[in-house]
Every structure is written in C-alpha cells, then in structure tokens.
Amino acid sequence: MEKTRPLWATPLQFVFACISYAVGLGNVWRFPYLCQMYGGGSFLVPYIIMLVVEGMPLLYLELAVGQRMRQGSIGAWRTVSPYLSGVGVASVVVSFFLCMYYNVVNAWAFWYLFHSFQDPLPWSVCPLNGNRTGYIEECEKASSTQYFWYRKTLNISPSIQESGAVQWEPALCLILAWLVVYLCILRGTESTGKVVYFTALLPYCVLIIYLVRGLTLHGATNGLAYMFTPKMEQLANPKAWINAATQIFFSLGLGFGSLIAFASYNEPSNNCQKHAIIVSIINSSTSIFASIVTFSIYGFKATFNYESCLNKVILLLTNSFDLEDGFLTANNLEQVKDYLASAYPSKYSEVFPQIKNCSLETELETAVQGTGLAFIVYTEAIKNMEVSQLWSVLYFFMLLLLGIGSMLGNTAAILTPLTDSKVISSYLPKEAISGLVCLANCAIGMLFTMEAGSYWFDIFNDYAATLSLLLIVLAETVAVCYLYGLSRFESDLKAMTGRALNWYWKAMWGGVSPLLIISLFIFYLSDYIITGTLRYQAWDAAQGQLVTKDYPPHALAVIGLLVAASTMCIPLGALGTLITRRLKRGDTAPVA
C-alpha cells in the first residue's frame, strides 16, 4: 500500500506558507533603500511594471509545475525531462547555501531581542572606559548603536583574513534559531501548516502598530515627504529598471525550489493562478507598506539628529562667546553667527572649524540597506522613542517572524526532494532527515559566528544565490516552454485545474520573461567584469567607521566556488543523464 502524499489542510495554509516565505527580511531592509536611491515615488513605476511582467508569470509557472508534478524540485524537473535533473539539484544546492547563512540573521535578531529587556537599552549608552572618566574610544568615534553592533554583537575583526575564534554568544543564539526552525518543520506540512498562520499574520500586526507609532513621531513627515517626492529623471536611469526587476525576482524567492515544494503538497485541482496573483500582490504591497514605516522612522531619526546637531552648535557658541543662556535658538542661529563673525572675527575664526553645518537633507540622504538598516539605524531610532523596550521587543519579534517564515520555505526546498527520494526515506523517518539537515547547517553556520563571520555572511549574501538563480529560472522557463512543450503543459493544466490558460501567461512564459532574465544576467556579468576586483566594507575600530578593502585570493576562490557549485549542476546533470543513457544503449545488444 503506497503512502499518500501529505497535503495542506486548507488552501489557506498554502497561501499563508507562500506569503510567509516570500515576505521576508528583503521587503523590510532592501526595498526602502532601493526606493530611496532610485527616485522615491517614481520607483514604484518600474517596480509595478516588473511585477506584472516578470513576477506574476514566473511565480505562476513555479507553482503550476510543483502542483502538476507533485514532487520536490529534483523529481519535478526530472519528470519534465530527464536531462533536467541538474536544475533540481542546482536549486537544492542554492537553497542549502541560503539556509546556511540566512539563519544567522535570526540568531542576531534573537540576540537583540534578549537584550531588549534591559533599562536602559544596552545600545543606547556607551560603556565606560577603564578609569571611568569617559566612554570607550571606539564608541565615542562611532555611535553607541554602531559600537553595540560591531563590537558587542559581532566582535568584528579588522579584515576577513583575521578569522578569530567562534564567539559563544552568537553561537548559542544560532543553536536556538536552528532549534526553533527544527521545531517548525519537524512534522512536515502538519506542523508547518499551523506555524505559517503566525509567521504570515503577526508581522502585519506589528507593522501596523509601528505604522501608527511611526506616523505620530516628531519629524516623520520629513522622511515621508523625502521618500515619496518623485524624482522623475530616475525613470530614465536603466539601473532603476534593473534593480526593480532584480528586487521582484529575488523578493518572490523564485528558483530555490521552495515554491515547487509548497505547491507539490496541493490538491491537483487547486487554483494556483489565483494564488500566484494574490501572493505576488501581497508581497509587493508589503514592501511598500514596510517602506512607509521605514521612512517615517528615518524622518524621526534624521530630525532628532539634526536637532541634536543644532543644539551642540548652540552650546558651543554660547560657551565660547559667553552669551546668555537661551539667547541662541534654532531660529536666530544664522543671524547670530553672522553677527558674531563680524563683531569678533578672530575668536570666531578660532571656533569656526568646530561648527558643524547641520543639514536635514544630509541626515535623510544616508541610505542604508541590509543588516546596517535593521540593526543600526532602526535601533538608533528606537532608543529615542518613549518606552523603548516595548518597541524594541516588538521590532525584533517581527524580524524573527519574517526570518523564520522564510526559513520554513528554504528548508522545505531541501527536505521535500530528500523525503521524496525513496532511497533515503526508506532508511530514515522524516524527523531524522530534518534533524540531520538542521544539524549540518548549524555546524557550518558556526563559521558565521567567528570574528570575521560578518564578512563571510556578506559574501554569501551577495554571491551565493544571485547569478545561479537567474540561470536556474531561465532554464526552468525554457524547459517548460520549449522542452516539455507549452501546449502540452497547457493541456496538463487544463486537465488538472479545469481552467484554460490565459494567452497572457503564454506570451510571458514564451517570450518576455526569458528575455528579461537574459538581460538581467548580462547586466550582472558585465557589472562584475567592469568593476574588476571585488571589494568589501571592513570595520576599522581605530577610526570608528567602515573602510573599503579588496577581497584576498582565498575569498575570491570561495566566491567562485559558490557560483560554480550551483550553476555547474545544470550541465553536469544533463551530461550525466546523456552518459547513463548511452551506457544503457551500449549494454543492450542492438536488434538486427
């Protein structure tokens, strides 16, 4: 008697699983940065166009393939064509790399979450130096939030060559993070299906709370006005379009095999077209929603810093010229400065180098993305809010939910092919397979808790998935349209779901989307080639800021290995199938 495939209890669980996987940290920390860099409100134009032209068709394709083949990525692509088993393997390899480094962010979120239960927040004050006369120098030069991130959390080394030792605190948090992930995936769709209700819905609750709080902060409107003022000239910038396409592509998580895995647990008659449209729209709306929250917080932080800067200048002038307290305010600062310059020219020129030019625009223009945004900029804004512990706990709890939701998808991409394979699942129950995968990833993840771990994290983040995914999705689209046959796939879908395939999807799959992916691929390659050597940002403790350094040869080798390991699977898989078929044909005696 054959075991039936486990199914989602309701289609809603499937939708929530997809949303929980697609809506991740990238929506919170990458999209606002792109919006700011490429013209604010006008960035929404290329973004929405790319969503309709690239995001929805490719998402529908993956869900349809998974639902039709009812297997994980390796089995699904092998069914499409035996020469494509490499595509599935490449997906699994990329997912494996992703799992390794993605959970480290959850570990950091746990670390910050646990530290949020103190008064005052540990990143709001600098620690004292040895003889208690002042603060630690590194903290003075940088800021307390940067110090807490670079020194207390990462204990970062000055360069990637100096690996240092494994830090036990982040290591403990990493073990906890993997334990939580294991708990959620332990029972397969049974447990995952229930967890995704939380990981999909709760972040929205927190975002709404933050939206209300953010909009009522002093100075929030500055940030929002800055963000949404459209800079129409950016529409002519090709980089805006390329980044919009890239963001849609990676934000939906295409090519990892997670969507195929989730869809394979669907009923065959499920309406995945509707679900694809819903998931992609929700994903993009969440990005826009999160950037509203982010920009109101940016505005608050920029206004706060601007006003502190002004106050420092006022204090400096009042002290130097012995003016009456309260005489200098933000309003008359410029006039008084001119007056002082003319009345006491010599003394003014002494003081002049120390007077900083406070500008709200420069504060707003500091565009940050990635871990810097999440752990430095946001924490800086939070420490200035009232009841900062509450906001801090809420924020890091939300980051955790987003991160763990994405991890569920990432691990599903690895586990579904493994549990589908009859060889492995006959020896081990799925709990053991999940446990082994989590254990292996946790052990390798310890690399990222070393002192240079953050630099290796950046390597994985920038290079492990980008090129390979483009190639994988291109191979998928071409395979379905031309190898398997678009008309054959269309009749399959009609038999499965009972609905005809709209001409729009056929046009996109056959022509537009592959062309888009090829142009993205060419752009990335030319970008790598033009920049020549690859560089990274290293933290210099003496100066208290980031400096740019070149990657050493062994780091470049690792980057090359990462890209090669996944992309080479595709041709190697095809080659392997070709060879085994030739051998089989050679074995059987030719019939005369």
């Binding site: 008697m1 646990f114 004292l128 006369t133 002042g134 906890l176 332990l186 029972r187 012995d322």
Partner: protein, 186 residues
C-alpha cells in the same frame, strides 16, 4: 528651558561649597569662605575662581582644588539642583557612574527560558511522532494478514490509489444504477 537665576546669594553659596570641599582636605581644615575669590563673572553664568591660603599670600595649586572638588562633586551639584551636564567645571572630568551590572546578564536568563521551552516542545513532538510510527507499524501488519484472506488488491494508477469496489455485504456493483432510475418515467 528656564534660565538659572544667579545673584549674590548664589555666589555666596558657591564660595561656601568650595570652602567646604577644601576643608575636607587634610591640612586645609581652616579654609574660610573669604578665602575663595570669584572673578570675571559673565552673563553666561561663568566665572573663574581661586582659593587663597590663610595668609593670603598665594593661591593654592589648581590640582589640589580640582581633586577636592572632584571628591565632593555630588554635594556641590545637589546644592544647586544641577548635574554634571548643567554645572561644568572646566578641566575637572566628571567621574561617570558605572552602569549597574547584575551578576548574571539578563539576556542569558531569557535565553535559557526560551531555549528550555523550545527544547521541551521539540522533545514532545518527536516522542509523539515515534509513538504514532509504532502504532502505524503495528496497524498495517494486522491489515496485511486480513488482506491475504480477502485478496483485496488495490490498484495504483498514477500514484493515486483507486478505491476498491465496496465488497461488504453482498455483491452490489455501484457502477449500475437501479432499474427505476434508468428508465425515464412515462
């Protein structure tokens, strides 16, 4: 922000506090208020001050005065309802209060609690999973014996098991509808 009201009485209080700080230094117990001199008072409320020794011949070295004030900084601040940020002595660095360090860092306590909860939940799920497995393994082996008796073969097509025709209670073949329904009524 309210301006600090500075007048002659406040000056007197300041001189008294400085004299009090000097009196705490051994060998200087005889310092009087009249030994403290203020000069260059500005609107900013800033001024220079010196402490002369009893014979009024010379001023005391700055280092001595600085260390004396440093010892009693808290008292001086409180006398004026000010703090280290609002009452500044140039060249006297303030001793910053050390942050309260609990014996066990708070984050480890919370980490421990959450870790234990997650561990216990995982163990429970694994154990209940093993129990379900054992029950399933006992179940199919019993069913297999009865299967051999019934020769109930379940055909599998396309990975989906076809439901066998219901053999219970006679040999009613569901594929055929009853006679009444097949013939249209007159």
């Amino acid at each position: 922000m309210d301006k600090y009201a500075w007048d002659a009485n406040e000056e007197y209080l300041f001189k008294a506090m400085v004299a009090f700080s000097m009196r705490k230094v051994p060998n200087r117990e005889t310092t009087e208020i009249s030994h403290v001199l203020l000069c260059n008072v500005t609107q900013r409320v800033s001024f220079w001050f010196v402490v002369t020794d009893p014979s009024r011949n010379h001023t005391l070295p700055a280092v001595e005065v600085q260390s004396a004030i440093r010892m009693n900084r808290n008292r001086i601040n409180n006398a004026f309802f000010l703090n280290d940020q609002t009452l500044e002595f140039l060249r006297i660095p303030s001793t910053l209060a050390p942050p309260t360090d609990p014996s066990v860092p708070i984050w480890i306590i919370i980490f421990g609690v959450i870790f234990c909860i997650v561990l216990v939940a995982t163990m429970l799920l694994i154990i209940s999973g093993i129990r379900q497995h054992r029950r399933k393994n006992k179940g199919p082996s019993e069913m297999e014996d009865s299967e051999d008796k019934c020769e109930n073969v379940i055909t599998i097509e396309n990975g989906i098991p076809c439901d066998p025709l219901d053999m219970k209670g006679g040999h009613i073949n569901d594929a055929f509808v009853t006679e009444d329904e097949r013939l249209t009524p007159l």
